[in-house]
Structure formats: C-alpha cells, structure tokens
C-alpha cells in the first residue's frame, strides 16, 4: 500500500516532465495530473509496477471544466471558447489495496487524449461515452463511435456546458 505522495514520487522519477502535479486537497482520492498524450504509457506503468499494481480502472469520466471565455450568442445562450475538457481515471489496486485518481486536461477546441484501451479494457465503452457526451477524441481507440445518443445525432455533445438542444430530430420535435 502506497500513499498518494509515494505514488506521485514514483511516477515523477519514471516520467519526469509528463507528470504535472498532485492535488491532495480533495474530498475523495488525491488527483495526479498528467500529460494527455502519455496517459497510455503512464497507465501501463501504473498497472504493471510491482509497488503500484493498479489493475482496475473503476471508472473513466469526462468533465467540461467550462473555464474558457463565455460569450452570449444572439438568442442569449452561452458559448464557451478556449479552456479545457478533462478526463478522470479512477484507479484501484485489488492487490495493493490503494486508490488514486489520474487527471488529464485537453483543449476544448481540439480535445485529444490517448486511449487507455490497451491498458484497461474497461475503458472501451467508458471512452465511447466520454466521446459521446463531450466530444473528447481518444486516439487509437479501436471503435470510437457514439454509444448512448443515436449514431446520426448531429447536434453536438450534450454534456458540454454550452450545448444547445436541437428543435427537431428526424422530424420529431425535441423541446417540451
């Protein structure tokens, strides 16, 4: 069992610059921020290292940080430009009995994160959901298409803070 600082130091020693920071001031597991383009390599290390053994990806979730500049468009709804979208990986080691949260942030305009499909197979549908809801592109995912919304949904990504629902979908009125 390792605490978050020990895990952070281990990662820092192995990956240096790619490990961005440790946030311990959280109500749940501490969060380690890393480089979105290296998450598959760091993930493989987290899974295989004898002292870490993070064999279980409990959940992968997307977040719209909504920290860009907000402007109103002509009908008064928010449009956000700039800022970041984030992905959180909640890891658990069933062997070492410790937990950690990994966070990557990527730009809102071109949200690309490496897929961890080859590290934790659980991430397959989780990444598809994050893509479906936030439009985050997981590079090298084998089958990145919508999972919940209809395949022909063209109105965008529903859980983004500046999402606007369409008036019609396939001839059906959508608003109440």
């Amino acid at each position: 069992m390792k605490n978050s600082e020990e895990i952070f130091e281990l990662l820092k020693k192995e990956f240096g610059e790619m490990i961005l920071g440790l946030d311990k001031d959280t109500p749940v597991d501490p969060i380690i921020s890393i480089d979105p383009m290296q998450v598959h390599k760091i993930g493989a290390f987290l899974r295989d290292n004898e002292d870490l053994k993070f064999d279980s990806l409990m959940v992968l979730s997307g977040v719209d940080d909504a920290n860009g500049t907000k402007t109103k468009d002509e009908d008064g709804t928010d449009v956000i430009s700039g800022g970041t979208l984030s992905v959180y990986y909640h890891l658990h080691s069933t062997i070492q009995k410790h937990k950690i949260t990994i966070k990557v942030s990527t730009s809102r305009e071109n949200p690309e994160v490496e897929s961890v499909y080859n590290v934790w197979r659980t991430s397959d549908w989780h990444e598809r959901e994050a893509f479906d809801m936030f439009g985050i592109i997981f590079k090298n995912h084998p089958d990145l298409r919508r999972i919940l919304m209809p395949y022909d949904w063209e109105a965008g990504f529903p859980l983004r803070k500046d999402y606007k629902n369409p008036e019609f979908y396939q001839g059906m009125k959508v608003p109440y």
């Binding site: 919940l148 209809p150 629902n165 979908y169 396939q170 059906m172 009125k173 959508v174 608003p175 109440y176």
Partner: protein
C-alpha cells in the same frame, strides 16, 4: 351485454348484433406486444403476474408486433427509441391500440425540461388511445387504463375505426 347470462334452455339461441359480438370478442382478447421500457415496465410486469393477473382480461404478451393488438408504452421514450417504436407500431396489423403508461410516455415526465434525449410524449410519434397517469402508475391504474380501452373498443363501429 347479456351474452352469457342467457339460459341454455332457450334453445341455444342468443340474439346479438354482429358488431357487439365482434367487439366483445376483440375487447376480451387484447394481445399486447411484449415490450417494456423503464420502471413502468416493472409495474406492467407486476400487472401481468399472478397477483393482478392481466390474463383475466385476455391480455397476454405476444413476441411479435404482427400478432399484437395493443402496445403499452411503459416508460421513458428516448429519441433513439422513438424511431424504433414507430417502426413497431407500423408493423402491427389494424385495428391497433396504444396505451401510454406513466408520466414519461405521456409528456416527458421529469425529463420535460433538461432531458435532451427524451421524447416529450409518445403522442408526438404515434396516436395514443388511453393515457395512464402516474410515476410509475400502480397496477390498479394500468388495469383501469385497460378497462377504459375495452370501453372504447366496445363502442366501436365495424364500418369505421373510431379509436
């Protein structure tokens, strides 16, 4: 209707209007499409089970829309599901009936404002005969809805479908 209270000593002759006889037969064997969507479907299954026993009204689930008389929209209809429900409805032979069960199928229910994925009422896609309110409705409420549908069928004309 008085079809069954005639004594057989009458010479086994029962006089009734053909229309009444047809309607009585139809309303006594409403076969529903075996189709459930959300928590309302659990109540619908409870209604089918022994305690409430849908079968005593002649309601049994069929596994294909081609053999079904009625479809109970039991739950939240997402936009994705709405296109499939429309196709199921179109595959059912006439005369066909629709019971909209619960707030979600009636009007979107709790998803009416922020449910980006929910159709705000199944009647935007297919014509509804009976609306059953509730979230979810108790089996008694669904039975009441079925009795209302039977009432509707009872007064139908053979010449023209009114429901």
């Amino acid at each position: 209707m008085g079809l069954l209270d005639k004594e057989f000593s009458d010479g086994n002759i029962v006089i009734a209007r053909a229309e009444d006889l047809m309607n009585w037969a139809r309303l006594s064997s409403i076969w529903q499409l075996g189709f459930g969507l959300a928590c309302c479907a659990i109540e619908m299954m409870a209604t089918s089970a022994s305690h409430y026993d849908f079968d005593r009204f002649g309601v049994i689930p069929r596994n294909t829309p081609r053999q079904a008389d009625a479809i109970i929209i039991s739950g939240t209809v997402t936009l994705k599901m709405a296109t499939r429900i429309k196709r199921l409805y179109e595959q059912m032979p006439d005369p066909k009936y629709i019971i909209s069960m619960g707030s979600c199928a009636n009007c979107g229910g709790p998803y009416w404002e922020h449910g980006y994925h929910v159709l705000k009422g199944i009647d935007r896609v297919i014509p509804v005969d009976v609306y059953v309110p509730g979230c979810p409705p108790r089996p008694e409420a669904l039975l009441e809805g079925l009795l209302k549908l039977q009432d509707k069928i009872r007064h139908e004309s053979m010449r023209k479908k009114t429901a």
